[in-house]
Symmetry: C2
Subunit: 194 residues, 2 copies
DNA sequence: AGTTTAACCGACCGCAAGGTCGGTTGCAAA
DNA sequence: TTTGCAACCGACCTTGCGGTCGGTTAAACT
């Protein structure tokens, strides 16, 4: 019962979880191996080195999950309401443990953008993709919004605030600050309407 | 010409710079020793271990600098205009290299809050102090602002957005995204006025 | 059945990290 | 002048990391 693809997926899944919780550098291969119950040889059969594993996790786990997470609220009939509901649901449904881990994209951005070009490029592409997604959907309903708004600017603003608020939560170990910021973010977004 | 205090200060200063650029974990003592031109014995004479050095850097370098940075704009007659000018000046005056390093407080928050309790406590205290500083000064001019605003919530919102925007800049390697977010942040803040 | 090869094993390597400790130096008080 | 001690030195230690590589196993094909 040797299934190469299954092994590979298991490695990606466990690695994604470890990197999310500990960060890329602090994640040790031996820890991944232990959780997957495989040997070092198996891992290095599927991935060239730790970096390539990191890239694969980003491209095959984080990026799809990220898009799958943002797309529905943004593509709702009313994207602003969609985003408000999206953020509010996070406040309510996420446990503190989950919240404190932060967004994988933001975490990697903070940790790896300045250190490794490969990560930087991938993260930047993801940021731009998300920005485009939000901006175009705001443009779609621009008739219901105030005039003279810069949608790309607004999209970056929203994402920045969201990422900043997850960062805030890390030090407080509770949802309170996150909820406060999200609440104000919703208030801001609603103000964009006519 | 042995000056213990001067040695200590030099260590703090160099460490602060290294930690700012590389992060706490990635900062190596040997690198600090080399830049200070001292031996490992000297460092361990002044600090118990790397953690204690980190705490000292936070308390004696980062915290004072942080307050010194935010206090003037916030305590201006018009704190909202003060903050707008403050952010705009950062956009204009900071080089990309500086900007990409991010805010030391936010960096440490991201990296260390979940890993070390000592750091977490100190960072949280700093966040709260800053929040209080901003909130009380908004309260001071509340007569010029719209009614029914939650100043603490707004203060956390502003700081979150600021930190999120420095995070964004790390992947883009230029000021553009930072400027965009800051511009929108100023627009938001001005809207708080009656 | 024999052969080939992808998939996997795990002992081993080099390295750099944080940290230790016995020894040395220079200054100041007695 | 002697003595005491803070300030400093640097060789050495342990630990854990990412990475290598010769060997083994299982399954698919001839």
């Amino acid at each position: 019962m040797r299934d190469a693809e299954q092994t590979r997926q298991k490695i990606l899944e466990v690695s994604a979880d470890e990197i999310h919780k500990k960060g890329f550098t602090a994640t040790s291969l031996s820890c991944i191996l232990a959780r997957c119950e495989i040997s070092k040889g198996a891992l290095y059969h599927h991935f060239q080195n730790k970096m390539e594993l990191g890239y694969a996790v980003f491209e095959e786990v984080y990026a799809p999950a990220f898009i799958a997470m943002w797309q529905p609220p943004v593509e709702a009939e009313d994207p602003i309401q969609g985003l408000c509901d999206f953020f509010s649901a996070m406040s309510k449904n996420m446990t503190c443990d989950e919240l404190v881990c932060g967004c994988p994209l933001n975490n990697l951005c903070q940790e790896m953008s300045g250190v490794d070009e490969g990560f930087r490029i991938r993260i930047l592409a993801m940021q731009q993709q998300l920005n485009l997604l939000i901006a175009t959907n705001l443009l779609r309903v621009s008739s219901q919004l105030k005039p003279d708004l810069d949608f790309s600017q607004i999209a970056y603003f929203i994402v920045s605030t969201f990422h900043g608020s997850s960062s805030l939560s890390k030090s407080s170990l509770n949802k309170e600050l996150f909820e406060k910021v999200v609440k104000e973010l919703c208030r801001y977004m609603q103000q964009l309407k006519r």
